[in-house]
């Protein structure tokens, strides 16, 4: 029964997503594109939160590395294939660095290390002005003709989001995902079982970094512009805010969070001058009111991952009680 309902919900969501460009004005389609693109970055952060319970405050740095790679290559006259190549290279490089420096940390130390790495990325974007254009950023980036129109690009980003979400979902139910959750639940036990915990974390950060790189590419294609703010603390923090708002660790959490943040930032700000306050209040509410519910639910759900549908019902009712 729940499964049917779930499929019905998914189907309805899918129909809305597909119909959107045919009914909504172009501005709202491009806001939806931004929601999806931001959600991809949130998925990267959410992966680490859900699988290994590592909270990153620097993922915008990896996204920016990819985006700057693409922007720089486009300025050098590379074709789109070459641009993507450079972006992939930069993603790999940045993810490797992130993974190497954070693989032996947990909790708040992981947070600090990723924050520091993010600040290094920001600093490079800001100061290395001969390559990055400094504070002025790089203009004149163009996305490929294939999805040059706003609605074509919308479908492209929708596809990217679905593929990434599906891949992350597959990962979480794979043996590797289970092992990672083992690391999350008890590092010492995994160690005594003979797993190399640091190596596993390295792998997790690396995979999450690749997703962040994908996010960087779709985001820079969306804006067709990049400046150091892309790599800044605020961008990283907002990605984490999205994850928390949507419910940390949940598969569709990033989309919900990204929608909330982007809509407040882009749409509400037209009507409410104090929109940052609204965002702040919402965040505080999410942490205070929803946190326990989410937390328990996530724990339960993850502990009995791949449950049959009725068990999920039990889980959700138990959180209400």
């Amino acid at each position: 029964m729940t499964r049917t309902r779930r499929f019905a919900t998914l189907g309805a969501l899918g129909a809305v997503a597909v119909a959107l460009p045919y009914v909504a004005p172009s501005y709202y389609v491009s806001v939806a594109t931004l929601v999806l693109a931001s959600a991809v970055l949130a998925v990267a952060v959410n992966m680490l939160v859900g699988e290994v319970e590592l909270f990153s405050l620097g993922h915008a740095g990896i996204a920016a590395a990819a985006a700057y790679g693409l922007a720089w290559a486009s300025g050098q006259g590379f074709d789109h294939g070459g641009q993507l190549g450079v972006a992939a290279l930069m993603t790999l490089l940045a993810s490797l660095v992130y993974a190497l420096i954070s693989m032996r940390t947990t909790g708040v130390f992981f947070l600090m290390v990723t924050l520091a790495a993010g600040m290094v990325c920001f600093g490079m974007a800001y100061r290395w002005s001969s390559v990055t254009g400094g504070d002025n950023g790089i203009t004149g980036i163009r996305r490929p003709e294939l999805f040059g129109e706003y609605w074509q690009f919308y479908f492209f980003v929708l596809l990217v989001f679905l593929v990434v979400t599906f891949a992350v979902h597959r990962l979480s139910v794979s043996p590797l995902g289970l092992t990672l959750r083992g690391v999350r639940d008890s590092q010492t036990r995994m160690q005594s079982l003979g797993y190399r915990v640091a190596g596993l974390k390295f792998l997790a950060v690396l995979m999450s970094g690749v997703v962040a790189g994908v996010a960087g590419v779709v985001l820079v294609w969306h804006h067709e512009f990049i400046s150091p703010a892309f790599a800044g603390f605020q961008a990283s923090a907002l990605a984490l805010v999205m994850v928390v708002l949507g419910g940390a660790g949940r598969l569709y959490g990033p989309l919900v969070g990204a929608a909330l943040v982007v809509l407040i930032q882009q749409v509400l700000s037209t009507y409410v001058e104090r929109w940052p306050t609204v965002l702040g209040v919402l965040f505080v509410l999410a942490v205070i009111v929803v946190q326990r519910g989410y937390h328990e639910r996530v724990r339960e759900a993850l502990r009995r991952r791949r449950p049959t549908a009725p068990r999920q019902v039990q889980v959700s009712t138990s959180t209400e009680g």
Binding site: N136, G137, E149, V163, F166, A229, Q265, T270, E273
Partner: protein, 439 residues
């Protein structure tokens, strides 16, 4: 078994969704899907888009204003909005055949937000022209977007490249001068005052590089020598270490190019505390002695000289300043007057038109209008759509009522963004930075 089955099903669903998406993307019409990006094709439009049929009613001309109402430069947004509103309140929104309406958007001091808001203004509000934004990175990003949409942009930003390396026929810098343009005359003036050696202190990002770049280029070109250049990070809260270094520099004049925020106040306070202002003459850029800073630091700014294209104590703007003060209780900043003048220039161009101009035509009409005697002085636009006009050496004095403001001590007319250099050569060289500090 079940797992394998489910996996197969999931894969099938995924493949199906992807192929449907691809098919949709490929089959959909090449123009707008919701029929909203192509105004002439849309029958729901009110007909004002079509210049062919003259209408008895006024033609609506929509101006989108991008101002930082929140974020770290929100004070600028308020100034800009006040200047713009005051102009239309005074002038009335009816101009010749046109009725002017304004849509204000908060760009949150962020380039990404400014871009999205510009997009909203163009696609949702269908504005005919956009004023702003102010920050360099915002201005460059928005100008790039608007040029592709063929919507004219009245720029309020001082970023050199808006009208230089990123020049666009749709961008007209009405509300400001280029960053280096407004400090070139400072270099020449310093040399003519008899100073032969100089040290500089500028904020370490594009605006500071351009401020210092202008001064150093003209000073060295005139025959002076720059012996020391210091750069401080934009978020530095204490500038005393830099001031101490300048105190030990054996030079005739010091040029300070600050960003116009708390850094400017900090610089002036430190310079006063350590006796730098008494020891060596200091010349600063526009923003170090902006009204907000003068009101903040008070008497220590008395007698400090600066170079800018706007002087609140100049006779030319006396009327405007008096009216603005009466209305808002403060002396207008250069963003307030920038928005006001942009309004004036728009009106000057629209008065002679009887049908809605295309983006290029509007820019051309604005460039062609008579701009002598504007609040900027006798100005004109160069072929890169940047103002050529007077820049003044200013000094802070006390007004009769005790308020401090800048007055003109010398005015240099017809300053171009290329100073005396060859435009082509100027544009071929890289923009100013810490490694390229002079032309």
């Amino acid at each position: 078994m079940r797992l394998a089955q489910r996996r197969a099903r999931q894969l099938t669903i995924c493949a199906a969704v992807s192929s449907v998406l691809l098919a949709l993307a490929a089959c959909a019409p090449s123009e707008s899907l919701a029929g909203d990006t192509d105004p002439p094709a849309s029958p729901s439009d009110d007909g004002s888009q079509s210049p062919a049929e003259p209408s008895a009613e006024a033609i609506e001309l929509k101006v989108g204003v991008l101002a930082p109402m929140t974020g770290f430069v929100s004070a600028i947004g308020t100034d800009l909005k006040q200047g713009w509103e005051m102009f239309w309140d005074e002038h009335g929104t009816s101009v010749g055949a046109f009725e002017i309406t304004t849509v204000l958007e908060d760009d949150a001091s962020s380039p990404e937000t400014a871009l999205s808001k510009a997009q909203r203004l163009v696609t949702e509000e269908k504005v005919d022209v956009v004023l702003g934004p102010v920050l360099a990175n915002q201005a460059l990003a928005v100008a790039d977007y608007l040029a592709r949409q063929e919507v004219p942009n009245l720029s309020m930003s001082s970023a050199d490249d808006v009208t230089q390396r990123n020049f666009s026929p749709f961008v007209l810098r009405t509300g400001a001068m280029a960053g280096s343009q407004m400090t070139f005359p400072g270099g020449q003036w310093a040399y003519e005052e008899g100073y032969r050696t100089a040290a500089t202190l500028c904020v370490d990002y594009a605006f500071g590089w351009e401020s210092c770049g202008g001064f150093v280029s003209a000073f060295v070109d005139a025959g002076g020598e720059v012996t020391q250049q210091l750069w401080y990070p934009g978020d530095a809260s204490d500038l005393s270490t830099y001031v101490t270094q300048l105190l030990n520099a054996d030079v005739d004049v010091i040029f300070a190019g600050t960003a116009g925020g708390t850094d400017s106040s900090n610089f002036l306070r430190s310079a006063a505390d350590f006796g730098l202002l008494d020891k060596t003459p200091v010349l600063s850029n526009c923003c170090t002695l902006d009204q907000a800073i003068i009101q903040d630091v008070g008497d220590i700014s008395l007698g400090v000289k600066s170079v800018s294209f706007y002087t609140e104590g100049a006779d030319r703007v006396a009327d405007f300043v008096a009216k603005f003060e009466e209305r808002y209780g403060v002396i207008p900043s250069l963003y307030a007057i920038g928005a006001y003048v942009s309004g004036q220039m728009l009106v000057a161009a629209l008065e002679d038109l009887d049908a809605k101009p295309s983006g290029e035509d509007l820019v051309a009409a604005m460039k062609g209008a008579d701009l002598s005697g504007s609040l900027w002085g006798d100005v004109s636009f160069d072929e890169y759509n940047n103002l050529v006009g007077p820049v003044a050496i200013r000094e802070v004095v006390a007004r009769e009522d005790g308020k401090l403001w800048n007055v003109v001590i010398e005015e240099i007319p017809d300053v171009s963004q290329f100073w005396t250099f060859d435009p082509a050569e100027f544009l071929d060289s890289p923009p100013f930075s810490t490694t390229r500090t002079g032309q």
